[in-house]
């Protein structure tokens, strides 16, 4: 565990946001530490270059919380973050989101693209993404997924970026977020009401975010973003401006935002954190329950469970769709981030227990009967997150009952895979069947 003060700096940023910028209650306990899930997961999103969907009622700080995080982790003044945001509305166009032709050059017969701030800035915010019609959501699909932004025949590639998208609950003006886009979000969080007492404090201390503004640097950023300098050269200049803003924040507040090399070092340290065996076995168990179907080979949203299925006691029987391969990646990213923040040397079950519900909530399609059974349950979370937390709780119980046997089964699996003549272990969970399937594949 390296002692380079990065954790302390990230914790200071968390504390600053929690104490002065985004008032909310802690709603997540991990290893005896209390956190507010919206701030914590947004911090991890920015650090791990993730993609986060923030839901909640209007005016409860969805966009604001993301703006503060982006400003402090990426060292951009708030004015620049605002100027780079894309707002979701039905009339939104590719030209406002991605880029447009340089009209002056076009008149001279040359094609040149003027890229939007949104494509150039690493900290990207899409406000009210579900007000974008379905057809226009696909415009940001590729950029969101790979960091590639294309217009005409030109392309810029973001080597570092994270995305925050906010969404209101369904109302007359909202659209459904298309399934491929939903799956690209690593986590979904809710920006909750802070309660009457904290809410009463909001706005009491005047314009609290004033110290994250810097008009002079903002103007320089604008000038840079508008300039015709190639994007890779712009990046170097961008870093200089970011560092200048970081210095001014340090002078004003005493905390030091993260420079690019700090973020890279942090990411490298997070990446080095491996799963311990329990964490690995538990994650496999989760993935098995969200993808397994004995009858049809895997879950498919177009197929229904067969009557009398042996595995009707597992979550595969309660859901419609299949977990995508992005799910384990999202889980790993955030669990590593959390383990790093908590100064742990490995990712363990506690980290997973905390992050998996947020990675699952928006991805799982529950069967109607499950929704109607549970929708009136007493809870503090939005329904989808509540269901995901319940699901993780149930799987964790199952894991605790059979963890040793399951690890044995995986170990025996490994030995069979390496050529030993053993019989795979039997057990009553979809994962045992999955192990057998992998071993049968080996025999072929």
């Amino acid at each position: 565990m390296e002692k380079n003060g990065y954790r302390e700096r990230v914790n200071e940023i968390y504390q600053l946001i929690n104490d002065h910028l985004y008032f909310n209650r802690p709603d997540l306990e991990i290893k005896g530490e209390n956190y507010n899930s919206a701030i914590l997961l947004s911090l991890l999103t920015a650090l791990k270059q993730g993609k986060e969907l923030i839901i909640g009622e209007p005016g409860l700080g969805k966009t604001t919380s993301a703006e503060f995080i982006c400003s402090l982790i990426y060292q951009f003044p708030l004015g620049m973050i605002w100027a780079s945001e894309v707002s979701g509305h039905p009339e939104q166009t590719e030209e406002k989101i991605v880029g447009r032709p340089d009209l002056g050059k076009l008149n001279q017969g040359e094609e040149e693209v003027v890229w939007t701030n949104f494509t150039q800035i690493p900290a990207k915010i899409v406000d009210e993404i579900n007000r974008l019609p379905e057809t226009k959501q696909s415009m940001i699909l590729d950029g969101v997924d790979r960091g590639n932004w294309e217009y005409l025949n030109e392309m810029i590639i973001n080597d570092e970026y994270s995305l925050f998208a906010t969404a209101n609950y369904q109302d007359g003006g909202t659209n459904t977020i298309i399934a491929p886009l939903v799956d690209r979000f690593d986590v979904m969080i809710e920006s909750k009401h802070p309660g009457a007492n904290l809410s009463f404090q909001v706005g009491k201390n005047g314009r609290k975010a004033e110290f994250l503004r810097h008009p002079k640097i903002e103007k320089e950023f604008h000038r840079l973003f508008k300039s015709k300098t190639p994007y890779d050269k712009k990046l170097a200049k961008m870093e200089e401006l970011c560092d200048a803003f970081g210095e001014s924040v340090h002078d004003a507040l005493g905390i030091r935002p993260l420079q690019k090399r700090d973020r890279e070092q942090i990411r490298a340290e997070m990446e080095d954190l491996a799963y311990d065996l329990d964490a690995s076995a538990f994650t496999r168990m989760v993935l098995a329950e969200f993808s397994f179907c004995e009858h049809y080979g895997q879950k498919r949203s177009v197929e229904n469970c067969e009557e009398g299925c042996h595995y009707s006691g597992y979550l595969c029987h309660e859901i419609k769709n299949c977990a995508s391969n992005r799910l384990p990646t999202s889980i790993k990213q955030y669990a590593q981030g959390l383990a790093w923040l908590l100064q742990d040397s490995e990712v363990d079950i506690e980290h997973l227990k905390a992050v998996i519900p947020f990675a699952l909530a928006h991805r799982v399609q529950w069967k109607d009967q499950i929704l109607s059974q549970k929708e009136r349950a007493k809870r503090d979370d939005p329904f989808s997150l509540y269901l995901a937390k319940e699901a993780v709780h149930v799987i964790l119980q199952r894991y605790r009952e059979q963890s040793e046997h399951l690890k044995d089964a995986l170990a025996v699996g490994s030995r069979i895979f390496q050529g030993e003549s053993l019989e795979p272990l039997e057990g009553d969970h979809p994962l045992y069947r999955e192990i057998k399937k992998d071993l049968e594949r080996r025999k072929r």
Binding site: L277, K407, D408, A411, S414
Partner: protein, 254 residues
């Protein structure tokens, strides 16, 4: 994701062009020491057997000490003495509420316990109930052919003992604040000498009910055949207070 430029990172191993062997998906468990193959169910059965053996041995030792001739007279002194012996053995055993039920069942259904003598058996079961960690104990005795005496003896405050089936004589004697429920019938001398607490008998109760009871309440869902000499406390028959009151008299049988 890009790594820090100064950080030396291991390159992922890429198989050679001709190497088409699939990646071991369980690789990280390769060094995990596989435990001896016992199914969890077998482990549970084994550990239950160990506990049951200890409980059984305690009962046999109680019989050896207190019922040498396989005859046991219910007298005040013998009850106290036998209970103390039972207490001594029970305190040495680690067991759970469900083990008590298993023991009750084993009393009639296994060759390993040679004698079911209702008095000592009841005292021993009472001691098990009074010293078990759980506060609620459920004993399903409906299938027993023998009605066990002295169940619920000295049931302490905070304990709740529920018995499905009928019980023998001296049920709930000396209850010390506990809550005893019998889902069937109870015989004579129920609640004798109880100090406080509550005894509920869903069906009928025998003679000398509440003899010398000093406090607490006895609720009978069916009929009270006869009351004992009650010092203090209350007895209800079908929710109607029959003691204190003039409706029923001690040692008069109805």
């Amino acid at each position: 994701m890009k790594s820090a430029p100064d950080q030396k990172r291991e390159r992922p191993a890429i198989s050679g062009a001709g190497d088409r062997s699939p990646r071991n998906p369980f690789e990280e468990f390769g060094r995990f020491a596989v435990s001896t193959q016992t199914l969890p169910l077998e482990e549970i059965v084994q550990s239950t057997e160990v506990v049951m053996d200890r409980i059984r041995r305690g009962y046999e030792r109680l019989l050896e000490e207190e019922a040498k001739e396989l005859v046991w007279m219910v007298q005040y002194n013998t009850i106290i003495k036998a209970y103390e012996v039972a207490e001594r053995y029970v305190k040495e055993i680690e067991y759970a509420a469900e083990d008590i039920e298993d023991f009750c069942f084993a009393l009639e259904n296994t060759q390993k316990i040679p004698y079911l003598i209702p008095g000592p058996a009841g005292l021993y079961i009472s001691a098990l109930c009074n010293y078990v960690e759980e506060e609620e104990i459920l004993l399903k005795l409906s299938d027993l052919k023998t009605e066990i005496n002295l169940l619920g003896f000295r049931l302490p405050k905070g304990k709740r003992l529920m018995i499905e089936g009928d019980t023998g004589d001296f049920t709930g004697i000396g209850v010390e604040g506990g809550d005893l429920t019998i889902e069937g019938n109870a015989k004579n001398w129920t609640g004798a000498g109880m100090r406080s607490g509550n005894i509920s008998v869903r069906k009928n109760i025998g003679l000398h009910t509440g003899e010398w009871m000093m406090g607490g309440e006895i609720h009978v869902g069916g009929r009270v055949r006869g009351l004992g000499n009650i010092v203090e406390g209350k007895v209800y028959e079908r929710e109607k207070l029959v003691y204190p009151g003039k409706a029923r008299y001690p040692n008069v049988y109805y």
